[in-house]
Assembly symmetry: C2
Homo-oligomer: 449 residues x 2
Amino acid sequence: MPVAQSPGRGRGPGHAKIADRFVISARWVVPVEPAGAVLEHHAVAVRDGAIEKLLPASEASREFPNYPYLELPDHVLIPGLVNAHTHAAMSLMRGLADDLPLMRWLQEHIWPTETKHVSPEFVRDGTALACAEMLRGGITCFNDMYFFPQAALEAVQAAGMRVALGLIVIDFPTTYASDPADYLRKGFELRDRSREDPLVSFCLAPHAPYTVSDPTFRQIATFAAELDLPVHVHLHETEHEIERSLAEHGVRPLERLGKLGLLGPNLIAVHAVHLTAAEIQVLARHGCSVAHCPSSNLKLASGFAPIEALRNAGVNICLGTDGAASNNRLDVFTEMRSAALLAKAVARDASAFPAHAALRAATLGGARALGLSARIGSIEPGKRADLVAVQMRAPELAPCYDPVSHLVYAAGREHVSHVWVDGELKRAPADLDTRWQVWQNALKGLADS
Amino acid sequence: MPVAQSPGRGRGPGHAKIADRFVISARWVVPVEPAGAVLEHHAVAVRDGAIEKLLPASEASREFPNYPYLELPDHVLIPGLVNAHTHAAMSLMRGLADDLPLMRWLQEHIWPTETKHVSPEFVRDGTALACAEMLRGGITCFNDMYFFPQAALEAVQAAGMRVALGLIVIDFPTTYASDPADYLRKGFELRDRSREDPLVSFCLAPHAPYTVSDPTFRQIATFAAELDLPVHVHLHETEHEIERSLAEHGVRPLERLGKLGLLGPNLIAVHAVHLTAAEIQVLARHGCSVAHCPSSNLKLASGFAPIEALRNAGVNICLGTDGAASNNRLDVFTEMRSAALLAKAVARDASAFPAHAALRAATLGGARALGLSARIGSIEPGKRADLVAVQMRAPELAPCYDPVSHLVYAAGREHVSHVWVDGELKRAPADLDTRWQVWQNALKGLADS
């Protein structure tokens, strides 16, 4: 039963539809679900963009004799990585300003640059660059929060990636929208226009407790419940945010969001660095997700998120790169490694957040946070074929006692050899799009002035 | 004036001597000294393995008309990276046992494996694998601490790398040596045999405060002073180490080493995670170096080293990967990034340990700790030509406002395009040596049993 092609699929130079049906056979398949499974010499049959069957390689050619067969003898096949929090277009600000205190970074560099430059063209070009980087690194789906999401969507569709587009809302005007109602209206118009594309889903994206008012949050809570949309919000990122909330609202941000009706399985709390033991229980009880951004939390000196305590409490953990102005890599391999390593030192326990947990957070954890766990996040029959092959034959990956250990602790995105989104093999562009150079020159002028 | 070839140079398949004299011209040269310099369109003239001149690219072909000319239009040229602490042969135990509490990791996995398997063959093969990984990743010199250093040296000479070999001393017998005198005797015999090789230097390497007795430390202090050798020792790595020292010696390890005469510019304190403010001042006052191993400190849950406080106190910081059983990457790019990011969150200051400081620690800091700063660690005329080119044209490195930011925060070892040691261009081996597979099978049997 062929699946209808979405408007965004199969277009542009970055795609190669090798077949509607095919088999990938790999040295190892790590399906993520069931947890901890590592299948040696297994194969995945793909049909019309969906995973048809996962079976021993020795049975695959007999069971699927007419399917083209791709053999990956030194590779581990995993579900596509999910980047659960980014601002993709900010790739154009990668390394524009580093090693600065947070407020100088924002006030003297990021905000002036955004005020002067952010436009639909900026967002389209920046998102295109981010997609190229993310696809090369095995990221097949990302959760975006930025201005002009329509322009971001155009770039994502050209790249053929899966996206959860954040319908951003801030209580002050920007070049994108004039007030909360305008942000929401523009967001929902985009959603209405794009709902046919099976690779696209949406989040409500109120920016942060310090940029969104109570009435706006209340309205978002209503929309989230009515439309069953995830709510993607920066939360408890810095001590300053919490102090400000106490001063302005008399409560910490999480308690405020609770009062405004936002706590529930739809909530994606981004960063969640500063949490009391009671707050960890609140997040768990309400079934919230935490988008952990370890590189960004370190680079901006936000602090150390209590990931193992959250995981032990049962909170769904996913991983985000944040934007390239505060990371500066849109690289979920690096976030897996950083998350697994940091959690051990924070928990003072070398067995904390083991490799399998990090890989799960980077795949199924992200899918679950985005409400997509029925479609992606693991290699299971019936799910869409978002798949990544990682080539494990290199001096830095030898020997190999456990491919999941290597995925998290030793390998990098440079070992990604194949990426499929919805069953479609992605090819790195033959040459790098150079639109970023135009922006580099423009932004550099501002930075130097 | 041609320099004599060392016994270890120019041998094996990994080497290509393109010329005794040549010019490398690069988009950027970051010489590390003077601090903070980023030279655009500059060239380095190399003659007989030494840096002859650093000059604008526009003048290079006029000034050196007869030198072969290598143009690197998208690259940044930096000094070779120095891995200031590793156990190279442990590459064979990469990922053998992860996510375990420290004592279970040591007692049930690492020590039984070492007891059963470590031999000259193991060390030679493991060090060869480590050298392949390190050279590919831009590391031109490393400070090693392991058993059978003679076997390690054979592998290093075959790879054509620079090495500081640790003359390991432990107060209990192993298959390598029977008692402290035997360790020292074997170490000094090796030193006597290998002193002619200009790529080889030596450290005294008493393993740690909990494995070395007072008389042995005293003897090492005497040798270090007499022979002006660096002393390479694990120090203040874990709280357990400090508690044990308090129980057994009545003082913390650093104070004990001070009483035994070991504090001075020769001391390389590896890890240095748990330090009081007074101890930071002691390290600074004595001119000691700290070999910071951020990945290992996290992975073993040792803790967070106070790097910015050490740096502000004037302590020389260098970077180490530790061994592949506790990292699992012999990758100084990752250590630079981790060090720069972690220091910010630990110091609660996003401007802490900036990119230039991380690059300096990874090059000149390591050279200084090893007593080699007159020979390597920066791109300055008269120093040996240990050089690394990093190719900066890739989606994940675009745009580029500041190449040093990219080196530390965005690039990885996979972007290394050229590596020279002592003026000799290294080539990645055409195919991976597979001796590691023999060991993988042997060690895996033990792990599964």
